[in-house]
Symmetry: C2
Subunit: 175 residues, 2 copies
């Protein structure tokens, strides 16, 4: 398995309008995305440099959201255009799944779950994760909230692009 694609994780803290994201919180997600898509979806993912989420928020067709709580609190969102989601899910499930089927949503939720679960182990903080929520709706956006910093990790594969949003902060005590 090649780990040689673009080194993408920021090595210094990244300032967003809502504050600073510790790069130690981003690197685990970059690594988890690369590993999950390589081993489970069987596609190589090129990961671009994370950037601060702007306003208006970018639009997507399908998003899987996982909540984090504990010593870090926030969310991890994996968002796709529909066509990319269909191709990536087909590669993951080894069969084409109709976009309106429960299996399609379950597969997208499971991908986010594996990314969040993989990253959780390396956050250097005690955190637990929720079940995924899978949003279906052409052109939806995830609003930028004011008090939680948010970075977008742009990801591209040979069958389509997707974006991973990390909106997360350390707290001194379990929330």
């Amino acid at each position: 398995m090649s780990q040689s694609n673009t080194p993408a994780a920021p090595t210094t803290s990244v300032t967003t309008p809502a504050g600073t994201i510790d790069p130690k919180l981003i690197v685990p997600f970059v690594n988890a995305v690369r590993n999950v898509f390589m081993t489970m979806v069987h596609v190589k993912t090129d990961i671009g440099r994370p950037f601060t989420k702007g306003v208006p928020a970018p639009q997507h067709d399908v998003s899987s959201i996982i909540g984090f709580s504990g010593e870090v609190v926030g969310t991890c969102v994996v968002s796709f255009e529909l066509e990319a989601a269909k191709q990536l899910v087909a590669s993951f499930a080894q069969v084409e799944l109709p976009e309106d089927s429960a299996d399609f949503a379950d597969a997208l939720g499971e991908l986010a779950n594996m990314i969040a679960g993989g990253a959780k182990k390396d956050l250097g903080a005690v955190a637990s994760i929720s079940t995924p929520s899978v949003i279906m709706g052409k052109g939806h956006s995830i609003a930028r909230l004011k008090d939680v910093p948010c970075l977008i990790i742009p990801c591209s594969t040979e069958v389509g692009d997707f974006a991973v949003e990390i909106s997360m902060k350390r707290v001194t005590k379990a929330a």
Copy 2:
């Protein structure tokens, strides 16, 4: 403050295609919705009988999602049509907020946060909650996942209706 509107919480467990939801997990949300909307939004909420989420999932314009983890794992989603969201947010914030403003999304996230936080205390289980994600997008839906039971609590107010989705299960050990 009247607590006399329709008693809505199920008193026996409710079976959904994904299993059974313990009514002890639903009652705290019914109470929290009623209290938050009465005390913070200044509207009386009539709460209908919770029902199992069907397929296709209902469509909404705005949703706030909070993840739960710990001894219960799942999500609480508060969903609105745009017009109801605008009126309820105006009543909550005491000022009309543009639907594309960060303040509008923050207000919707805070409403979900107060409902989830209020319910959390009465779940009879140790749980922690994530920050909210606020989804904007006309006609989006939250997909039904197969392995987590999901109930919808229908809520109506004089300025518009909304729905609270509880998708949650007890786990034997913190996830």
